[in-house]
Amino acid sequence: MSDMNRREALQNLLAIPAGLALAPEAIERAAAHAHEALESHSALEHDAHEQGAPAQGAAAQPAAPRPYAPKQFTTDEWRLVRLLVNYVIPRDARSGSATDAGVPEFMDFMLGENAGMRTWMKNGLGWMNAECRTRFGKGFVSCSDAQRRELLDAIAFPKKAAAELKPGVDFFSSFRNLTASGFFSSRVGIADLGYAGNRPVAKWEGTPPEVMRKLGL
């Protein structure tokens, strides 16, 4: 699928100079640059995919992939984060899950960039575990799916949540934002959304008539 996208993207880019014959060198330069970026990225993503293979429920991989070694998370935190992101954005018929899209690795990178975010994440994951211990006598990872969902139901809807859960509600809202940032900016997420831009267009035609019709415009 990712190969398919790349090929399509390249085809789109390479199809442009004919339409935009006015400064072919400039467009070609841009296209070459984009080509390069896409190529190098495809290699990167391949690595990330190898490293971030699904942790649970997956059949044994034929050749054990080198596991991604998180730089900012402890082993226990890493387990929790990999579970939690998939509760936020699971796999469905249209696209893969947050771990499929490399969201935990993205978070690990961002935490390395920002000390404030690091503290926020560690406090938040700590709150999740503490709340689970209070409710169920064990940490989030050891809880059953139903127990985890009970907690998430209590903190995922800020307007309905109990006031005493505010720290957890606030953390989860931000965690959800960060998960969405990582997922929908990944190759998986962008394909899911059907984002159709960021490509040279020879002539701007405005909004397609079928879109105007659908929106009643």
């Binding site: 400064a23 640059h33 984009a34 970026a37 969405a180 959304l193 159709a196 960021n198 267009v201």
Partner: protein
Amino acid sequence: MAAHQLTKAGAKVVLLEAGGYWDNSSAQYSAMLKMPYDSPRRGASTPDRPFGEWDACIGGWQIPGEPYTKAEGTKFDWWRGRMLGGRTNHWGRISLRFGPDDFRRKTLDGLGDDWPITYDDIKPYYDEVDKLIGIFGSRENLPNDPDGIFHDAPAPRYYEHLVKRTSDRMNITCIPARLSIITKPLNGRAPCHYCGQCNRGCMTNSNFSSGNVLVMPALRTGRLTLLTDAMVREVMTGPDGRATGVAYIDKKTGEDREVRAKIVVLAASALESSRILMNSKSSRHPNGLANASGVLGKYITDTTGTDVAGFIPSLVDVPRHNADGVGGGHIFMPWWLDNKKLDFPRGYHIEVWGGLGMPSYGFMGGIQSYPEGGGYGAGLKQQYRKYWGATVGFSGRGEMIPNDKSFAELDPQVKDRFGIPVLKFHWEWADHELKQVKHMQETFRSIVAEMGGEVWSAMPTREQGYGIANGGAIIHELGGARMGTSERDSALNKNCQAWDCDNLFVADGAPFVSQADKNPTWTILALSMRASAYITQQRKAGAL
């Protein structure tokens, strides 16, 4: 602009840039056409790029080692670009001519001051700027929003059609945007290819940044010497009080250096140029250069601003298509009302945003505000899909009137890492601005309601300044070395020439007498071109 015009006229010019080199046409600098997943940061900001890692502007509100200070109670943020092309690498390309009324506001409403020039004085230069740099727009024949020499404007995006239709119903003037982006070939530059990422630096130079559109051609004349990483300390003057050149610090070595020149043109941005002038003290100019009147640092303004976004249910599940377009709105609303019927003077224009832009860091933050109120799992994933592109936002950008409580001066103690005294800001909005911003908020909320939408944020109160952005936050600082008809109350004459130093000119936002309900860049360019024409003519006549 001055370097471009003066080298074209045959002069030898040295251009000093406080930051580093930059060339948008090179992939080494421009991030055009990158996808968010090409970076592990996914487009998030970095310390020297507060607007995102791919924003083509090195600088920001805070620059290490280059502080500024604020009087107690003052909220003011000072954006500085530190790179070739400076702040023209960081802007929305909204390129509006000031109208005839904008040069004579005091005559019309008794507030502020008139300019020493009229629209007719500057119009030929606006025309030349249009032809040299290029701009798209539409002919509208509006009284105070003069038409330019326009390339065709791009057709509206889906949500812009809805805004246009709604505005028409509400009698709010809504017309095609006027951006300095070319839609046909111009002076060797290719037309826009609609990737929507102008802010990353355009590799085909289809939009305007002064580095690629003005400085690069000037370099090709062979008459321009470019000195980067050159932080100017002051303008040097001789015993006769005339400018002899500038003293600067070579940031790479830390050495003090100087450039001698027959004529000095400052274009470091309104407040940085004012600072250089304040720091250019001598026995002939004890209060700084161009400051015999004491107005230096005074009459500074920034555009007023506030934003409102609304969720528009009729745009849910918008069919996917490429809605990128140019890097900016395709429509806008120029000021459309008569202040005589309102409780505040001066107007604002409205910028419109929304759409299906490239998903990046920060994508749809705050999903809990949508009708489901948050959630997780498959249902949440579906929310992101259906609500993407269903939010439309409005930004008001209005005219502030200069006031006595908003000014900059040299801080008596604090110096930057080069030992140069820094600016201290004083800032206060008047009732005029607060009432204007209140009107913006009410207007935007009524447009969203008319579109059948919902605004989630509560109407800000008077105590919250009705949501007015901090001074400096809109990055349209103007004034500080204003022009005028008399050396008693202005720093410069109508040719941007210092009253007390005839071979010193200021060619950025500092000479402005007043703001307008318009972005200042096109007027800065036209004034600079006009000053350059004056310098050329005076040199040829042997008067300079």
